[in-house]
């Protein structure tokens, strides 16, 4: 019996999400009275692996990349499924991000293990194994029963608090090996921006909508995000108009995010937009229309024109910082 948590790395490093996953796995293993094991694939050094120990993991299986040249979901899913079988996993935990979303369903099929994606809390019950998950794009939550003996959960980012619980983990290092590794995909080109806070990782997000009136009005919004160490985002009409890049679009068909603080500036709050941001811990709305639906979702608000309120807000933050 064990709980296995797959901890993805980004150029050999972990991030807050990795520690959230480990915290969750350790807690769940405690509930199930079993041990939690972290599984890492790729080039990660011992020092980085040891950081997982801060959150209570006692054992780490590290598979060095070996013949795998890049992330291929078919190959990685086999490695994860093999490890889960070998370690007799009751529960396998992954992130509900791009990698997790492409791996978990494959592992589910390989192990014939029930999968619940996007869970945001510990199971509601263990017998039967029930979890709560977001459905209808945030308009409801479903209690889902996982009916198999091995279960897979993908955890929503920023939904589970870090739990420090120092341990000195044992690291078992080996080289990933697969019989006939799949070779269906080949990387041609990678374009990466570095140094920018990722929208999905950001704890504070400052987002603008059509109420910003023109793309020329974005400077104070960007400044506010920078001052707060956050990321910028936008509503769908703004990205459709090309005022901001598509990667910034948050909402049902764009990115679904759950920061600690979300500023909706000049965003009316259509259902489709709320679907992407409703898991934010706090929503601040700034809108000139006092009846805009965004104020029903927000905890704090200012009724006013974004072009006037925003510069004043920037000044207020500067003052707070000084």
């Amino acid at each position: 019996m064990s709980v296995i948590v797959y901890t993805e790395n980004w150029d050999g490093k972990f991030k807050k999400l990795s520690y959230e996953l480990v915290s969750y796995a350790v807690k769940l293993a405690e509930m199930l009275q079993t041990q939690a094991i972290a599984l890492s694939i790729g080039d990660v050094d011992d020092q980085e692996l040891k950081t997982l120990g801060r959150y209570g993991i006692g054992r780490i299986i590290q598979l060095d990349r070996g013949p795998l040249s890049h992330f291929d979901s078919q190959a990685y899913a086999r490695l994860i499924a093999d490890t889960a079988s070998k370690e007799n996993a009751n529960v396998l935990i992954m992130a509900n991000n791009n990698a997790g979303k492409s791996l978990a369903p494959r592992v589910s099929v390989r192990l014939k293990a029930a999968l619940a994606s996007g869970v945001n809390q510990l199971p509601v019950s263990l017998q039967p194994f029930l979890v709560s998950k977001r459905v209808f794009s945030g308009n409801a939550f479903a209690q889902m029963e996982l009916k198999t003996d091995t279960r897979i959960l993908t955890l929503a980012q920023n939904s589970f608090d870090l739990a420090e619980n120092p341990a000195d983990p044992v690291i078992e290092r080996s080289v990933a090996s697969l019989e006939a590794p799949p070779s269906g995909t080949r990387v041609l080109d990678i374009q990466k921006q570095s140094g920018k806070t990722l929208l999905t990782d950001a704890e504070i997000v400052v987002s603008g909508g059509r109420g910003m009136k023109t793309p020329d009005n974005w400077a104070p919004l960007v400044e506010l995000a920078e001052l707060l160490g956050g990321a910028t985002a936008c509503s769908r009409p703004v990205s459709d108009e090309g005022w901001r890049p598509h990667e910034e679009h948050t909402g049902q068909t764009g990115k679904i995010i759950a920061p600690n603080l979300y500023f909706a500036i000049g965003i009316s709050g259509a259902t489709q937009h709320l679907a992407g941001i409703s898991s934010s811990k706090y929503i601040v709305a700034i809108n000139s229309d006092k009846d805009a639906p965004i104020f029903e979702a927000a905890q704090y608000g200012i009724v006013g024109d974004a072009s006037k309120v925003l510069p004043a807000l920037v000044e207020a933050v500067k003052k707070m910082k000084s």
Partner: protein, 249 residues
């Protein structure tokens, strides 16, 4: 090159969802059903690829797993421009069952490119595409925002954390599609709607597959506290609340 687009039908995103039978089932009264937004974009991109004869796309088909009540959605896909449709006559209860049925379609008629939306806007699982790929033992690429054919080779763009990656993929493969693959969903023309009436929908008997999960109840999200308003002339008040009350700054 033959393309299959898997389509799911979902309540229109503006629908107020309600539940029946002690919150154990979706209340279907008054629901306007639409093609799942990402599936609609996948279909649009498939048709764009077919429009350019140089790409050598012979046909674009759509697949749906569901009861006869979904036929208007399938006809809509045919009206937009799909050549043919497959429907597995089943009422699947989870993603695993859907994928098992789609597998049967692939075994009935071979395809080179299978496209699935990244998630359906009802159960938000993001599971079917990758499950299908694993069942068929095919390569897949997730979160693709670009798909093109270059001298017979398939090139996809996928979003990775902080950037984009271009890959070449061997066919057959499963592409799991997100926003950006096509600009605007294609809309059915009058002529398309007329033609759709005579296009074939092939009915397929369901494959035996048990669901691995079951939804027991639905709950509405917890209500949020009422909004607290700061004076527009004094935004410093808002910052003070965020700092000392919410403690998020």
């Amino acid at each position: 090159m033959r393309i299959l687009v898997c389509i799911s039908h979902v309540p229109d995103t503006t629908t107020k969802v309600k539940f029946a039978e002690n919150n154990t089932r979706l209340d279907q009264t008054g629901i306007q059903w639409v093609i799942n937004p990402w599936d609609e974009l996948s279909l649009t991109r498939a048709l764009e690829l077919k429009d350019d004869a140089g790409n050598g796309v012979e046909s674009v088909s759509v697949a749906h797993v569901g009861p006869v009540s979904a036929e208007p959605t399938i006809r809509k896909a045919l009206a937009i421009g799909a050549d043919a449709a497959f429907r597995v006559d089943a009422e699947p209860r989870d993603a695993y069952q859907v994928a098992a049925q789609l597998k049967k379609i692939f075994e009935t008629a071979a395809f080179d490119i299978i496209l699935c939306g990244i998630e359906s806007s009802d159960y938000n699982g993001s599971n079917v595409g990758s499950m299908l790929a694993e069942m068929l033992d095919l390569p897949s690429v997730s979160a693709i925002s670009g798909l093109r054919i270059e001298n017979g080779a398939i090139i996809v763009t996928r979003e990775i954390d902080g950037g984009k990656e271009q890959l070449s993929v061997e066919v057959p493969f499963v592409g799991i599609v997100q926003k950006g693959i096509a600009k605007e969903p294609r809309i059915a023309s009058m002529r398309g709607i007329m033609q759709a009436r005579t296009k074939p929908i092939q009915l397929i008997e369901p494959a035996p597959a048990e669901p691995l999960t079951a939804i027991s109840t639905f709950d509405p999200p917890k209500p949020r506290a009422a909004c607290k308003f700061a004076d527009p002339e004094n935004p410093a008040q808002l910052i003070e609340w965020l700092q000392n009350e919410a403690k998020v700054l």
